[in-house]
């Protein structure tokens, strides 16, 4: 069965593993796949949108064991389980994504 994919331009590089290990859930980029009748692009996937999160990742972080949970919502007390932003320091310079 052919898949439609989130296609990045050839000059941008993305690595799933580092995002998942930081605690960014699937839903943050791919949207609520479980509620889509026809799979579609949920987010703009533009450079501005990437950078928004790289500059302030906090809202998109969750405990690592909740990465695949699409219904997860932040509750008080979850902070302890979530990675510290200063430990992550996502790159904001060009070669972070363009090589």
């Amino acid at each position: 069965m052919p898949w439609a994919v989130h296609k990045l331009p050839d000059h941008a590089y993305f690595d799933h593993s580092v995002h998942l290990n930081a605690g960014v859930g699937c839903v943050s980029c791919h949207g609520r796949i479980d509620q889509m009748e026809v799979v579609e692009l949920a987010k703009p996937v533009s450079m501005g949108w990437c950078l928004e999160c790289h500059r302030n990742p906090e809202p998109n972080l969750r405990p690592k064991n909740q990465i695949t949970n699409m219904k997860w919502e932040r509750k008080p007390g979850d902070e302890a389980l979530i990675a510290k932003v200063e430990d992550l320091a996502p790159p904001e310079h060009c070669s972070g994504c363009h090589r």
Binding site: W3, V5, Y13, N21, H93, C94, S95, R99
Partner: protein, 1040 residues
């Protein structure tokens, strides 16, 4: 052009010896100054719209119609693409994560272990195997280029059959049937009339199959021939010891080394290992350390000659006489040479200064055995035997020279072996000829007339990757599997056995030489894998579970640890035999080399070797390490000899001359004058002028094989030189003139004495800025990447340049564009001549990539912020932002930025080589062949026309390592976790990369060495790359 007053060319700075790029510069420094003031050649920037770039009216309409169609179909921001996932994924394959496999490559009786990266099943990059004793993680130029040859678009895709002079494609089954029939026929007559022709191989499986064939079909015969082979080395040691012995030289611990016509750092067998150990004996960490001393006697500059502390230019034919004179002198100093000196006259050849006999002998003798002599593979066996005797006389054996059994000895002289075959072919004794790994129509000695003999063979089949020159004459042709597609094995000179492991199924259904030979032995019942495995099992013996364990380990690490290395052998030197051989060789001396008796020498090209790599544009375009000539093999000659002959070969005019000699075919070749070349000698490089190499190699350079004969295989005298009729000049493209030092201290060097007197001398020449900039400097808290390049170790072998090209998807531009200065190398190796004597200069080499300046001049002038600074100090380049103003290129003091003047990737493939390119779209809109695209590194953007690019310190590797570290929960990378492609490939470990903020890292320690300096430090760019000045160790007693 800048308004500042240019540096003076005439006066070298800071007490340095004069440095020049070419003979023209040396003779006319003022003209060079004017040229340098232009900064870029006029050609490079002029003609942005030239004839080539003008699209035909029809072509323009086609393109505009196509773009109109795209525009009309709506504004599509990004095309939607669908993928088809594996319903069941292949084992271990994770999309985007490369796999690495160990395999092996052999050349000249030596095997080199490789690690090949594979992205989703596509091999993309070759590295040295760190576990293999020969490569120790480094690699050779040829190994780096192997990955391109896998995807060569001109590889033959199906079998073909020739009948009545016409070749037609044939079905694989028909070929198999025809071969099976011949095999059956031969088997019924005990192999009568069945012959094989192949290059000498170190493969244990091939040897086993050859043995089995000899038992089953005793009349069949396997002939070995390779145009470049190590027979002289084998035979020389057989004369000296009674049986072939492998000499292992420890260049790292030798105090004094004499190299006689030997390019042991690049062209000889085992050069990879030799370069590493030679550099180890030279790498000074402080002024108290000592270093080895290298004397070189050779006709033409080689990589080895460029590292020499003293170099004597001498025709190759005179090298034997030189060594004899040296032996006599050594004996008179008390070295034990047995009865050898008695048979010698001891008269040195004309033009050898007496100090080259007396002082060199004294220096060698004074080292108490820590000295050695090496002889190159083209010198006759007697000279090799004499060198063994000298090394024994120097008491070097057991100290810096060791002998083991020779695992890769040749049974017969390949030239004689081929001559036997041709004689039998002409006599009608050969009914079936199977050519497994050879191209004799192109590279056999001229007097054998191989093609004519081949016509007399009833059934001949060639197995090769291309429809080459030989394939035009065989009755059948079969596609051959690339080494990355087939099972095999190889043995190194120290006895290490490695398995050649395939990375990909044969792209065009090719077979390997082992598989074809096996089909004659057992009718094709055994696959390549099974044949290799059977050899392995036999070699190991013992129980099956242990064998299985070692087999898996061998595949994983690339070394069969179940087979012991050879122990040292204790065979005594047979002095009497050596004396006899030396006396015979001495007596056979013909007319001396001089103005009336010119010499030619043959050497494998330092890039395409004997011609088997002649369709690889990476290597064709690579500027040759000494001449910096690309896309050609020019004949090298001394300027004085050229003047005496009334011809010239330089950037202004390169005359085509006709060389003739009795018994050999006449050849025409372009001349090139090289300072430091021996007079009355002409050096020819093999491997060029191919007619059936493929779209890139065809017609490039000059075929010099017709000048080679049975008796003049490596060198010949009595050569007549005349201007070609009609007189004409050849268009030679070289990069030597691109990028000039303008009299500044760039490639800095000094002698060991100068260094000890003033260890910081490089920084007296390249003065670091003492005033900080007016603005606040950036502080680097995390990683601070830096690189150190040791000019003392660098041999200019060009491996890093090709490693960089392969890693970073760097395009080739073709000969004409290269001549305009539009080459795209991110890393180049600059070559300068040093010294006052234009006839006998030294050479300084310097690899230059982006210096990653902390105060980068390029960044300030970019109007669109396409080049910016990263928090780790990298000078980033965002291709998609670049609008191509080229301001950064103009403002870069190191001239390392490269501009995509044209769409190179498509252009070369469809354009230059295949005259005319795409019939509608014109010369460079031609599409790149699909197979070539498979080589691309998926982690590096393929750049388009109109953008700037440059060295990134392999930022993709840095990011990858950081991602791995983050996944493991680490914030910082350890030293050695990131290695750029150039540093990884370097055989001498001259390039070291790492974190300057980590005080324990290798690069931080190298940056603290006293002989470090930054390039053009005084302009305040604060480069992250620093150099370690080249230190030479001349003998204070020698005058030159």
């Amino acid at each position: 052009m800048s308004k500042r007053k240019p540096y003076s060319f005439v006066e070298p700075s800071g007490g340095q010896r004069p440095i020049w790029r070419s003979l023209e510069d040396k003779a006319h420094p003022e003209a060079a100054q004017t040229r340098a003031a232009e900064e870029f050649s006029r050609d490079q920037v002029a003609g942005m719209v030239d004839v080539e770039s003008l699209v035909s009216r029809r072509g323009f309409l086609t393109v505009s119609a196509a773009s109109a169609a795209v525009a009309a179909s709506g504004c599509v921001r990004r095309p939607e693409e669908k993928i088809l996932p594996f319903s069941k994924g292949p084992e271990y394959v994770i999309p985007g994560v490369p796999l690495h496999f160990a395999t092996v490559r052999e050349w000249l009786g030596e095997a080199e272990g490789l690690f090949v990266s594979s992205n989703e099943g596509r091999p993309t990059k070759v590295e040295g195997n760190p576990f293999h004793p020969v490569s120790e993680g480094a690699s050779t130029l040829a190994a780096q280029a192997m990955v391109w040859s896998l995807y060569d678009p001109d590889r033959v895709r199906e079998p073909s059959r020739r009948a009545n002079g016409k070749s037609a494609r044939a079905h694989a089954n028909d070929l198999a049937k025809a071969v099976a029939e011949r095999a059956k026929l031969a088997a019924s007559e005990n192999g009568e009339g069945l012959r094989f022709l192949t290059a000498p191989t170190t493969s244990p499986t091939f040897a086993r199959l050859a043995n089995e064939l000899a038992q089953k079909q005793p009349n069949a015969r396997i002939h070995n021939y390779a145009p470049v082979n190590h027979w002289n080395v084998v035979e020389g040691s057989r004369i000296a010891f009674g049986q072939p012995q492998q000499a292992h030289y420890d260049f790292g611990n030798a105090r004094v080394i004499l190299s006689v016509d030997s390019d042991f750092l690049h062209g000889e067998p085992s050069a990879l290992r030799a370069a590493g150990s030679f550099a180890a004996g030279r790498r000074l960490r402080n002024m108290a350390e000592g270093m080895n001393r290298l004397y070189v006697v050779e006709p033409a500059f080689t990589a080895t000659g460029s590292k020499a502390d003293h170099r004597l230019r001498l025709p190759a034919s005179d090298c034997g006489a030189y060594l004899r004179a040296l032996a006599k002198q050594l004996a008179s100093l008390g070295a034990d040479m047995g009865e050898i000196p008695a048979s010698l006259s001891g008269e040195p050849p004309a033009g050898v200064p007496s100090e080259w006999i007396e002082k060199v002998a004294a220096d060698l003798h004074a080292q108490g055995g820590q000295a050695l002599v090496v002889v190159g593979l083209r010198q006759p066996p007697a000279v090799h035997a004499l060198a063994h005797a000298i090394n024994r006389g120097l008491t070097a054996v057991g100290k810096v020279v060791r002998y083991t059994a020779m695992p890769n000895a040749l049974a017969a002289d390949p030239v004689r072996d081929l001559a036997d075959l041709v004689a039998d072919m002409n006599a009608g004794k050969v009914k079936t000829l199977v050519i497994l790994d050879a191209n004799p129509v192109y590279d056999a000695p001229h007097d054998l007339q191989f093609a004519a003999a081949l016509e007399k063979v009833e059934f001949s089949v060639q197995l090769s990757t291309h429809l080459d020159e030989t394939a035009q004459f065989t009755t059948w042709h079969a596609p051959k599997a690339h080494p990355f597609e087939a099972w095999g094995d190889a043995r190194s000179t120290d006895g290490t056995v490695s398995i050649q492991q395939p990375l990909i199924a044969p792209l065009y259904g090719g077979k390997s030489a082992i598989e074809v030979l096996a089909s004659f032995v057992d009718g094709g019942a055994e696959s390549g894998h099974d044949a290799v495995r059977r050899t392995f099992d036999r070699m190991l013996g013992g129980d099956a579970s242990r064998r299985e364990l070692i087999w898996r380990e061998s595949l994983k690490v690339g070394v069969n640890r179940g087979v012991p290395k050879h122990g040292e052998s204790a065979l005594a030197l047979q002095v009497a035999n050596v004396a006899k051989a030396v006396a015979e060789h001495s007596a056979a001396k013909t007319a001396p080399i001089g103005p009336s008796n010119l010499e030619v020498t043959f050497a494998p090209c330092s890039k395409v070797r004997d011609g088997q790599d002649a369709n690889i544009p990476w290597l064709l375009e690579l500027p040759e390490n000494i001449t910096k000539v690309a896309w050609d093999n020019v004949a090298l000659i001394a300027p004085k000899t050229a003047r005496a002959l009334g011809v010239q070969g330089n950037a202004k005019r390169s005359d085509v001359v006709r060389l003739s000699r009795e018994g050999a075919g006449d050849i025409e070749v372009a001349l090139w004058e090289v300072p430091g070349h021996a007079e009355n000698s002409i050096s020819l490089a093999l491997g060029w002028g191919r007619t059936h190499a493929g779209r890139y190699g065809n017609g490039q350079g000059f075929d010099v094989y017709p000048f080679r004969t049975l008796n003049a295989f490596w060198m010949a005298d009595g050569v007549k030189v005349s201007k070609a009729e009609p007189a004409r000049a050849h268009f030679v493209a070289q990069t030597q003139e691109h990028g000039s030092m303008e009299g500044r201290a760039i490639a800095i060097e000094g002698t060991l004495a100068e260094y000890r007197e003033n260890p910081e001398f490089p920084r007296y020449a390249s003065v670091e800025m003492s005033i900080p900039p007016l603005w606040k400097e950036k502080e680097y808290e995390g990683h601070k990447w830096g690189m150190s390049i040791d000019l003392t170790s660098c041999t200019g072998c060009n491996t890093c340049v090709i490693a960089c090209q392969s890693e970073n998807n760097i395009p080739n531009v073709g000969k004409r564009q290269l001549a305009r200065g539009r080459e795209m190398y991110w890393l180049r190796i600059d070559r300068y001549f040093v010294g006052d004597d234009a006839d006998n200069p030294d050479i300084a080499l310097q690899p230059i990539g982006c210096q990653q300046c902390e105060e980068a001049p390029c960044e300030n002038v970019c109007p669109v912020n396409a080049t910016t600074h990263s928090p780790e100090g990298l000078n980033d380049m965002a291709y998609n932002r670049c609008i191509g103003t080229r301001y950064c290129m103009n403002n870069c003091p190191y001239k390392v930025r490269r501009f995509n003047f044209l769409s190179w990737h498509g252009r070369l493939a469809g354009g230059v080589a295949a005259e005319g390119g795409d019939p509608v779209l014109g010369p460079w809109y031609g599409e790149m062949p699909e197979t070539e695209k498979m080589q691309f590194n998926p982690n590096v953007t393929v750049r388009m026309r109109g953008v700037m690019e440059k060295c990134t310190y392999c930022v993709q590797r840095i990011q990858e390592a950081k991602i791995v570290a983050r996944r493991d929960g680490r914030r910082r990378l350890e030293d050695g976790e990131v290695t750029p492609a150039c540093a990884q490939a370097c055989p001498t470990r001259a390039i070291v990369f790492g974190d300057l903020n980590d005080p324990k890292s290798r690069v931080a320690r190298l940056r603290d060495l006293d002989r470090r300096y930054a390039l053009l430090a005084e302009i305040g760019t604060q480069p992250r790359t620093t150099f370690l000045a080249q230190i030479r160790n001349p003998n204070p007693e020698m005058s030159s």
